[in-house]
Amino acid sequence: MKRLTKALAVFSMVGGALFGTQALAEPFKIGICYDLSKAYTFATPQVSQAAMDLAKLINMKGGIGGEPVEVIVRDHGNEPQRGIECYSKLSREGVFVFDTLSTPVSLAILPRAMEDGRILMQSLVGRGDAVDGTVFEWVYPIGPTYWGQAANDVAYIKQLHDGDLSDVKVGFVYFDYPFGQEPIEILKTLSEKEGFKLELYPVPLPGSDQAGVWSKVRRDNPDHVIVWMLGGAHVVASKEMQRNRIPMDKYISVNWLNEVDIANIGDEAAKGIKRGTNVVGGQDVALYQEIMTELYDKGEGSGPIEKTQDVFYNTGLAMYSIMFEAARKAAELEGLPITAKSYKAGLESLEGFDANGLMAPITVTAEDHGGGGKTRIEMWDGETWVPQTDWISEYTDVVWDVVKESSSQYEQ
């Protein structure tokens, strides 16, 4: 099958070059320029494996509009210069949908994508104000922004306290660089609005030393701690929390907390830990099961099966389900071959799409490129993730104020 796809691709490319015809459509390609060797390796292998599996599954079912799909995975080592190289190279091979899963590289590609009119997907990374479709015409950060996620975390805390946050204290533990600093503004605004007390605890990179931070948390004794950290820093935090006798259920993590971190903390020790997420964790998902029976059971998976048992694999499935669904819509709306323009229309016609219960339903419009930014809070019960809320997207007016204020600076 793969060989046939490749042969078809080569054939159509040669044909296109020789005769300059548009009738021989190329496969729909997604350029995956990922950091597979440096800073983002905690998530990129799982996400790219999900992308490849999904592409295989779609091709088995006859592709999109009869045409095969292709994902091209390249490494950029988290270097903006190599990201641009990857973008330029693949652009010339006819790719017009890109994903980088790296904030520095996404930032570096953004001006080019805007100029060239190519689609830059940047779920969960890059500048959050790109959800403002009126300014960032070609950029689609589908999924929650960090601002939206933080706001939803506050909404969850509000639920726990029966709608009254006036004598609640919320701590915010964050990596002291732009990734972690992003939600501060929104948390401050919400703390004024809802009357809860906000305490900030910056953690210096790389987060391997948090002793001072957590003893301070113990002294201040906040009711909840919202945490904006990644990978190993969660493990360090949990150790320090145990040392300071801070109960684990105060911990509400950003979406970057996965099964590997839980295993490192220890299944039992991690009991009660919470995370915000826009995808359903675990393996009890229709799409996941389908990939298992169609690919992995036949030995045709794109990588080791262990990597699929990870929430970031589900995150990847969600991201690429959206991208392929948009391609399908584009083919439906404006026919083949799919172009950047028709693909954009396809994306903006997604309505309440949840990939068959895999993720928070998203509705993309020309104004809102984020798809609504719904997340939910899940809790680790020692064996699996238990949802604590519905898919929510709260304080959208506050979030959009920040978005608009920030995106208006781009145009200057």
Partner: protein, 357 residues
């Protein structure tokens, strides 16, 4: 045979102080210069835009670092921070409405001032201690960038660069960007070529070899060290600004992080300390080879129909690249520039010197 020389002999001081002591070198340089001029017409835009352009700008930057590390012998681990100062001040100036010509100079001067101010403090110590102090400068700059939204451009820390315009001409095409980079790189190269044969260059070398010996000879080593820092910071500042204006189009702290500082230092060391042509080679190796090897490995595994998973595929080029650096430094510790020099020297009077042996 290749150089049509019987050796390099000088009959007077003027011939000794020529930039090109061998006519063939001059011809080769002129030839490469012409290729550089014609590049937009003979090189596909992908290579022009994603390889040649960053290569030229980084070469200019690396030459600046080579001035302070290769010529004046002062280890500098905060070079990217100095580039950041130039980039951010030039972009802010341009956003404020200052014409780009002046914005670039403002960027260079700000870098120069901050770089040499820092050097004032840092130069009270020497050697490894100086290296660590400059590293501290890098961390200070990182901290400032990530903690002052006013400088770094909002909570995402990305600052959009206005459209580059020089001499009343808006530059928006790949060719235009390339010529800007090319022009800057040529300027810096000419400066460095001439530096070698001036009193300043000789003073810097004296300071490098032994600063107190230089002081005994009447060379004020502290003054020349500061001068080296100021000049190299100016080059860094303008290079940083041009890098953003012609290549990244927006500035973000990651583009000038500590990793980048170490990368530039690697470019200079692998290329060869105090070697101009070496800087060109060094930048090519450190900046471009990872991407090229990556492409080669991918093509190779596709061509052979191998099923390698993407992660391994991403790590093979890193291993190859690391091995390449080690091998080069084992063969010639003085870097790629010296390697080129060895070949050149061997061929200088070839085949006639073979008879001597």
């Amino acid at each position: 045979m290749f150089y049509r020389l019987s050796g390099v002999h000088h009959a007077d001081y003027v011939s000794d102080s020529r930039i090109f002591k061998v006519p063939a070198d001059r011809n080769l340089t002129a030839f490469i210069f012409l290729i550089g001029l014609a590049a937009p017409f003979i090189i596909p835009s992908l290579y022009l835009n994603s390889y040649l352009l960053p290569w030229l700008i980084w070469t200019a930057a690396a030459l600046g670092l080579n001035l302070v590390t290769g010529w004046a012998g002062q280890l500098h681990l905060g070079y990217a921070a100095v580039m950041a100062v130039g980039a951010y001040s030039a972009i802010h100036a341009a956003r404020f409405g200052v014409p780009w010509e002046f914005a670039l100079i403002i960027g260079g001067l700000t870098s120069s001032v901050i770089g040499s101010l820092f050097a004032f403090a840092a130069l009270r110590v020497k050697g490894l201690y100086l290296a660590l102090t400059t590293l501290a400068m890098q961390f200070v700059m990182d901290w400032v960038l990530t903690h002052s939204p006013a400088i770094s451009g909002g909570s995402h820390a990305s600052l959009q660069s206005p459209t580059l315009a020089l001499l009343g001409q808006e530059i928006t095409t790949d060719t235009g960007f390339y010529y800007v980079a090319f022009g800057w790189c040529v300027l810096v190269t000419i400066f460095m070529l001439n530096l070698k044969r001036t009193g300043l260059g000789r003073a810097l070398v004296a300071v490098r070899e032994k600063d107190f010996a230089a002081a005994i000879l009447g060379v004020n080593s502290f003054y020349y060290k500061i001068l080296a820092f100021a000049t190299s910071s100016f080059i860094a500042g303008v290079s940083g600004a041009l890098l953003v204006a012609t290549f990244f189009f927006l500035a973000a702290p990651e583009q000038f992080s500590v990793a980048v500082s170490i990368q530039v230092l690697a470019m200079v060391i692998v290329g060869g300390l105090g070697s101009i042509i070496g800087s060109y080679f060094g930048v090519a190796l450190i900046l471009l080879v990872p991407g090229i090897v990556n492409g080669l490995v991918v093509t190779l595994s596709d061509g052979l129909g191998m099923q390698i998973d993407v992660e391994t595929l991403a790590h093979i080029p890193n291993a190859v690249y690391g091995a390449l650096i080690v091998i080069i430094l084992l063969i010639e510790p003085l870097g790629l520039g010296k390697l080129y020099g060895n070949i050149r020297d061997y061929l200088m009077v070839w085949p006639f010197d073979q008879f001597k042996k």
